[in-house]
Symmetry: C2
Subunit: 357 residues, 2 copies
């Protein structure tokens, strides 16, 4: 197959301009990450919610499966603001679901997330060569350290101001997350609506105004989307939803089953699962909680409050209470192996664009 040559493939020393999006919650298994890297793309371990020792174990396992580059994704640490009135109101709203799942009431407390410094230490210690961040960037000392270690630094922008800020911070690649994307909105500056621009509109604007290579995320489901992103000026794509139903994906079997229902599925944006706006398959929990969108505590508190519900729902096979993150392209999901898909998309894109060399 012909090789692609874009600023993304050059910077990461990979052969195809396809990054597998970090998808937290156990979806990015070492198998998925490795298969995609082996196929010529860049696998990403979504480590934001993982404890340091889990991250280390996953990296070690990935390395038994591939010698190619892969990325680790972390969440930029943030100030947690505890609002007890909101927490109490959330517990009231969540109580009927706990009852339905047979769960006791519990109020989680700090720490709501694994320790960021320890997560970062593991990544540095393991000599990972590509690190991506969601929800902004860590403190400038951390960025300096990451740069000193020679690690390629990727961060996500949802509007132009964020992209400019990331460029000024010295990131090597910017993922432009369009409104179509599944999972959490990466918005870290301004109002949520400001960060809900469709990929087709967002990409050329960022390409015009920043010099750092831009990677398109949101709505890209196959080689047609890759070709479109390259035509818009992107250096490549980051694809998540398109891998969700692959055999290597760690998504719950019922989650994969929902994704296979073709054109019948739709997505919604909601804060109900984590306190942060995110896009997922519309299910009973999202629908019933829609009216309370403005009442939830912020991330990561709401995320901690719903954790037991989501975990019990997974154990009890109740997808109506799971966070089934998915992008607007989800009706195009397939259940084929990840490596096969990556190779096919690359070939499709080469047919449709002039980016191949």
């Amino acid at each position: 197959m012909s090789q692609f040559k874009t600023p993304l493939t050059e910077k990461l020393q990979i052969s195809l301009p396809i990054i597998q999006a970090p998808m937290a919650g156990g979806i990015t298994t070492p198998q998925l990450v490795a298969e995609i890297s082996n196929a010529g793309g860049l696998g990403s371990l979504a480590a934001g919610y993982m404890e340091p020792q889990q991250i280390r174990a996953a990296i070690v396992e990935i390395r038994t499966l591939t010698e190619r580059p892969f990325a680790v994704n972390l969440f930029a640490p943030e100030h947690v603001q505890e609002d007890y009135a909101r927490i109490q109101r959330a517990q009231e709203l969540l109580a009927p679901y706990r009852d339905e799942l047979g769960l006791p009431t519990e109020t989680p407390s700090e720490p709501y997330l694994p320790n960021f410094s320890e997560q970062l230490s593991v990544v540095l210690d393991e000599g990972v060569n590509c690190l991506s961040f969601t929800f902004g960037l860590p403190a400038s000392e951390d960025i300096e350290t990451i740069k000193e270690w020679g690690i390629t630094l990727i961060a996500t922008a949802t509007h132009l101001l964020e992209a400019i800020l990331l460029e000024e911070s010295g990131v090597d690649l910017i993922v432009a997350q369009g409104a179509e994307a599944g999972g959490h909105r990466a918005t870290f500056i301004g109002q949520p609506e400001q960060g809900l621009v469709g990929t087709l509109a967002l990409l050329p604007l960022l390409v015009n105004h920043v010099r750092v290579p831009i990677v398109a995320a949101g709505g890209v489901m196959d080689g047609r989307g890759l070709a479109a992103a390259l035509a818009l000026g992107a250096a490549g794509v980051q694809m998540g939803t398109a891998f969700l139903a692959c055999p290597e994906s760690g998504a719950h079997p019922l989650y994969k089953e929902k994704l296979s229902q073709g054109t019948e599925i739709t997505t919604s944006l909601s804060r109900c699962f984590s306190g942060r706006l995110a896009r997922g398959l519309t299910n009973r929990f999202i629908t019933e909680m829609q009216a309370h969108e403005a009442e939830w505590p912020g991330y990561p508190i709401q995320n901690a409050l719903t954790r037991a519900i989501r975990q019990a729902a997974a154990r009890q096979n109740r997808p109506e209470f799971m966070s089934l993150w998915a992008g607007q392209g989800c009706p195009l999901c397939t259940t084929r192996p990840a490596a096969e898909l990556v190779r096919e998309w690359a070939a499709q894109a080469l047919e449709r664009s002039n980016a191949g060399h």
Copy 2:
């Protein structure tokens, strides 16, 4: 310049796969329509709000300026549901704006829109060869008549079910309106959210499931967007926002000025101007009325209720009360002549795609 050859150019006998979107409210002047058709695209006269004799005069004028094909756009007629409690509440909410603009209180009554049958008669009588509809399709008798007259029929879909219905109704081309698009959402089946899918996700889904050629609308601002749409499987694009600031556009001078403020401008979706969800530049009226989104009467009643306000705002140069429809690509607007833009985009797209022949 090389010629494009797509199902769109073939069906309409035009040389470039670019439709100028119908933009109601005086924007699609005969000059704009004719310039775009003369450049090789398809100009569209947005006649939805025009009285039959105005439509006739505009068609006659366009014909003095071009011999090439152009389209006329009409709104599919719909049942008007008068809800007096909502009308009264809307009048209360609008009263402070009327005061600020020095307008008396008035309650418009039926007819809220020009007579559709008379509009259609003029279009048939004038021998227009391409007719596009927004908000669904007219009654099947009207469609039959249009088809009997040999007119190319275009309609807009915002999700797959709408596209399937339009295909079954016998339309010749379907415009896939992505969530990025400016102006009214064309959604005519299901909930508004169902029709808010980004172009990059919407397009390949429709291409996979309907045989009628698909035209991409929403977020396309230049040749990069055209190339992307072609890569996604579209037969061409429909572009509106990209023409708003052209010298030939009938947009208010202050509307054009706002569009020239580059990266500082943002858009919002709102029902406040017409009762139907539409995307426009975020201004004072949209912002202040955001909390009342669920209270407005439906279209076209709300449209009639705000008409005097919008007209006075235009006369008094108060863009904060005008409906400044614009898509999410608006920061890429330019003030260059329409024909020059169309030719440049086509050349850009040919460079970036393999659709040229």
